[in-house]
């Protein structure tokens, strides 16, 4: 298949990549750009482990072709806080015990970031609905919901 030369804006940086048209954004992020925080759990948009922000919206990067992402701002888990530091949502997840195996966590954190940007003080039902596309098999979601509430609470006091 022919290689297409394209520019991707990932975590605030312009990246030049050569990709086949059939490759997903997830594959290009992981295999070409070394951003392995996004995970492939199903490859069909059902689990949310590959969630990234595309222009502030949480999307499954396994369901998006890389070529479709050209010209859009992509944020991965590696880009939401300076290296070695934690975004307030990540801190809340850590402190509340909202992660166990950590496989769903990057996607879960990014879906939370997207939620709090559009709805800074969500109700519990809103939180649960917003995260329903991100499966977690370890936690039963209880501490994840608490972590989102804590993150929302702390954002108010900042």
């Amino acid at each position: 298949m022919n290689l297409l030369e394209m520019q991707l804006e990932v975590n605030g940086r312009q990246r030049s990549v050569q990709v086949e048209a059939n490759r997903t954004l997830l594959e290009v992020l992981r295999d070409d750009l070394g951003l392995i925080g996004a995970k492939e759990g199903c490859g069909s948009g059902d689990c949310g482990a590959c969630t990234v922000l595309v222009d502030d919206e949480a999307m499954c990067s396994c369901m998006l072709l890389a070529v479709e992402a050209e010209g859009r701002q992509i944020t991965t888990i590696e880009g939401i806080a300076p290296a070695g530091e934690l975004h307030p949502v990540q801190s809340a997840f850590v402190e509340c015990g909202a992660l166990q195996c950590g496989f769903c966590t990057p996607g879960m954190v990014l879906s939370t970031v997207a939620l709090l940007r559009r709805s800074p003080q969500p109700t519990e039902d809103e939180i649960r609905d917003a995260l329903a596309g991100n499966l977690c098999r370890c936690t039963g979601y209880d501490k994840i919901v608490r972590a989102v509430q804590v993150a929302a609470e702390e954002a108010v006091h900042v």
């Binding site: 950590g102 977690c136 979601y141």
Partner: protein, 749 residues
């Protein structure tokens, strides 16, 4: 030494921040030079003879590095065609849909897919055996098997193992009963549903030696899997575990590592095999389909007088090392109650489905759905409160249980008492409400007999005043955090001074599977012992250095001090220098070790866990909303309460999934109908309520600081509790899981 600084402290996992940043390295994240991608060619038939495989076109394709089929598997001593381990690649017979018949290593996924499409397989299709009940009847076809070098003496049959458990006078037991009920319960095949698919990477880095990176719970078991299937000597394999994206029993010793190892050898480069979700749900060792006929007699006061039962498990095409699965069910039908007489028949049956594996508290969810539904129903008939019903039958300390050994001290009564008094039990309404919904609450009790597996740990003082432990155990969602707390408590330093090296099988002392709720019990004991030995040596040397009696010494994060004299001290780092400086070392470098042997008894520290579920059923649609879940569990001692709660909540969610949604469904040809996460429906955040936990700390266990097994017990009761709540809400009992809207709606008509 100061004490109680670390045990019982809720704190984040040691690797929580890196995981939150996406820095965890799972098996599919391992990067190696010239890494090739492996793909599997699945059998399209549930039962077929493989007549020929033509791989010539695929092998000639550019970018294809290796193709293997069953003929590439070396002959090994002890080949057993009934053993799941040997079923990684079909030989003469394919025995379930999806069983790999060939595998390809190529430069990228699409090249590998094209190569698979170019492989031609000629099959002689055989009638699939999919009905476990019929499969045992005389004259029925038998799942085909490859011949062994020394033909097995057993005549071909679909009997995968059977056993009987008998105790007491059954006839007298039923004769003395006031009420006798007989029911048949069915539990479908369910999948562990971890989010990280199985992945394994193999590399023959050094002539004759292979390095393997795999997400497994049992590093040595995974190594031995390769030894057993390919005949490679253990000392020529280094099995490196990775971070694990959930396992729940399903990643015990891996499934397809032999394929990656064979491909890597042929391709002369590292090869990674990562399963797709479709493969996960089709060929990755789910929990098996189970049918339980149960007849129970009780006297008018609710006391069980007799239990008669028949358990049949459709194990699929293979046996697994801990089977027969049906025997585990039989045991768990009667292990937590006083049962004066029982007769239970266990039967595992081979069919043309995928072989089964462990799933969190293996077979206990199935057993509990049967016995806890039965006791609930008997309680309804007798007008006895469901929790009271359990209390009257609960086995007491010292009573001889189903396993033939006296029951040790346990927290079962405390669990029942805490839930009986809980607002969720006392205050919940049941029946049809003004809003048109049917409300109900249900209870179920679970028991898991955790025990010890063999485990060893090595500890040494590290430069900079840290203590390093080298272990082979994997860090399964918080194990290292709790192990660090145990070590820190024993050493008298803080947990952040403890570091762990997760070593591969060529470097680590032995570690067992991170499973059976035994990690803290087993490896925790080994770590505790190593920490104790290291502390003694540190204090002994400090006493020499400071010229004081060791009883006067206290240890903190950085130094050993003399009590009451803050200036009289020696830094831990100075002690490290004293054993490592080339020309000035006064002591030999000290390596502490701790080791725990296994224990045969399953009930050395029995863990009781009970759950109350509250539900609302929509009578128009049959849809169920779980409104509340409360689990009380005897954890012995919660080393880290936050992590313990997390285990209980996660298990509750999985168990509710099994109650309401989850089932691997097959069509008449033996193909999985719902091999994706849209149709195999895992619980989402929107499906579940808050999950309340009550930690009961009943002393008496011999685990480190009194800790008992935690991960599996909370899986057992919630499914049955939800089923009992639905019975309470709609007045009808449904004996088949999952309790989907269709079956509930039909039961209400």
């Amino acid at each position: 030494m100061s004490r109680n600084q670390e045990i019982g402290v809720a704190k984040p996992m040691v690797d929580a921040s890196p995981k939150a940043r996406g820095e965890a390295r799972f098996a599919a994240d391992i990067q190696l030079p010239n890494l090739a991608v492996a793909k599997l060619l699945p059998s399209l038939h549930a039962h077929a003879e493989v007549l020929s495989i033509d791989t010539s076109v695929a092998e000639a394709m550019p970018g294809v590095y290796a193709v293997i089929t069953g003929s590439d598997i070396p002959e090994v001593e002890g080949f057993d065609p009934y053993d799941h381990a040997h079923g990684f690649l079909a030989r003469r017979f394919a025995v379930h849909v999806g069983q790999p018949v060939a595998a390809v290593a190529a430069k990228d996924p699409s090249t590998a897919e094209e190569a698979l499409a170019a492989i031609r397989v000629a099959y002689r299709v055989l009638a699939p055996i999919l009905n476990a009940a019929a499969a045992l009847e005389p004259g029925q076809p038998v799942v085909s098997r490859d011949a062994t070098a020394s033909p097995s003496e057993e005549s071909p049959s679909n009997n995968a193992g059977d056993a009987e458990m008998i105790n007491g006078d059954l006839d007298a037991g039923f004769a003395s009963a006031d009420v006798v009920l007989e029911e048949t319960y069915e539990i479908p095949m369910i999948h562990q549903g971890y989010l990280e698919p199985h992945a394994v990477t193999a590399w023959w880095k050094q002539q004759g030696h292979v390095d393997v990176w795999e997400c497994v719970q049992s590093p040595f078991g995974a190594r031995d899997h390769i030894v057993q299937t390919l005949g490679i000597p253990a000392h020529k394999i280094a099995l490196h575990t990775t971070d694990i994206g959930g396992a729940f029993g399903g990643k015990d010793q891996g499934l397809f590592s032999p394929i990656a190892v064979l491909l890597a050898k042929k391709a002369e480069r590292p090869v990674r095999l990562a399963l797709t979700r479709e493969e996960e749900l089709t060929i990755a060792n789910p929990a098996p389909m189970t049918k339980i006929r149960l007849k129970v007699g009780v006297s008018s006061n609710g006391a069980i007088t007799a239990v008669d039962g028949e358990v049949r498990v459709d194990v699929g095409a293979f046996r697994t090392y801990w089977g027969p699965a049906s025997f585990s069910v039989c045991h768990m039908l009667v292990d937590k109650y006083r049962v004066p007489a029982f007769r239970l028949h266990a039967q595992d049956v081979f069919t043309n489905r995928v072989g089964f594996g462990s799933y969190r508290a293996p077979m206990a969810v199935q057993a509990a759905f049967a016995i806890e539904s039965m006791l609930d129903e008997l309680g309804c008939r007798l007008g006895i409160d469901p929790i009271e019903m359990r209390k009257r039958n609960l086995i007491s300390e010292g009573e001889v249980g189903a396993g033939g050994a006296p029951m040790p001290k346990h927290g079962g009564t405390a669990v029942l008492q805490s839930l009986m008094n809980h607002a969720a039990w006392r205050g919940t309404k049941s029946g049809r409400n003004e809003d048109g919904m049917c409300y109900g609450r249900g209870f179920a009790l679970g028991l898991w007999g955790s025990g010890a597996f063999p485990a060893a740990a090595i500890a040494r003082l590290e430069k900079g005043g840290y203590v390093r432990f080298t272990i082979g155990q994997v860090d399964l969602t918080g194990s290292y955090t709790s192990l660090a707390q145990i070590a820190a408590e024993e050493l008298g330093i803080s947990a952040d001074r403890i570091v762990f090296s997760r070593a591969d099988t060529s470097r680590a002392p032995f570690a067992s599977v991170s499973g059976g709720s035994s990690t803290i019990y087993s490896m925790g004991g080994a770590v505790q012992e190593a920490a104790r030995e290291l502390r003694e040596k540190i204090v002994e040397r400090a006493a020499l250095e400071l010229d004081v009696d060791r009883s006067e010494l206290r240890m903190n994060d950085v130094a050993v001090t003399v009590e009451g004299k803050s200036d009289k001290r020696i830094e831990l780092d100075a002690l490290y220098e004293a054993e490592t400086s080339l020309f000035f070392a006064k002591y030999e470098p000290f390596v502490a070790r701790g080791a725990k042997g296994g224990r045969v008894s399953r009930m050395s520290a029995p863990c009781f866990s009970g759950t109350i579920a509250e539900v609302a059923v929509n009578p128009e649609t049959g849809a169920v909303k779980v409104l509340r879940l409360v689990t009380a569990q005897d954890v012995g001692k919660a080393i880290n309460p936050m992590l313990v709660e997390g285990q209980i909540q996660g298990a509750a969610a999985q168990s509710v999934g099994a109650a309401l949604w989850e089932a691997v469904e097959y069509d008449d040809a033996g193909r999985v109908r719902n091999a994706d996460l849209l149709d195999y429906r895992l619980p989402t955040a929107a499906d579940l309520p808050k999950i309340e936990t009550i930690l009961i700390e009943e002393e008496g266990g011999d685990g480190p600081f009194g800790a008992k097994g935690v991960g599996e017990p909370p899986m057992i009761a919630p499914a049955a509790a939800v089923a009992n709540a639905i019975r309470n809400a709609i007045g009808q009992r449904i004996n088949q899981l999952p309790l989907n809207p269709e079956s509930i709606w039909q039961a209400m008509q």
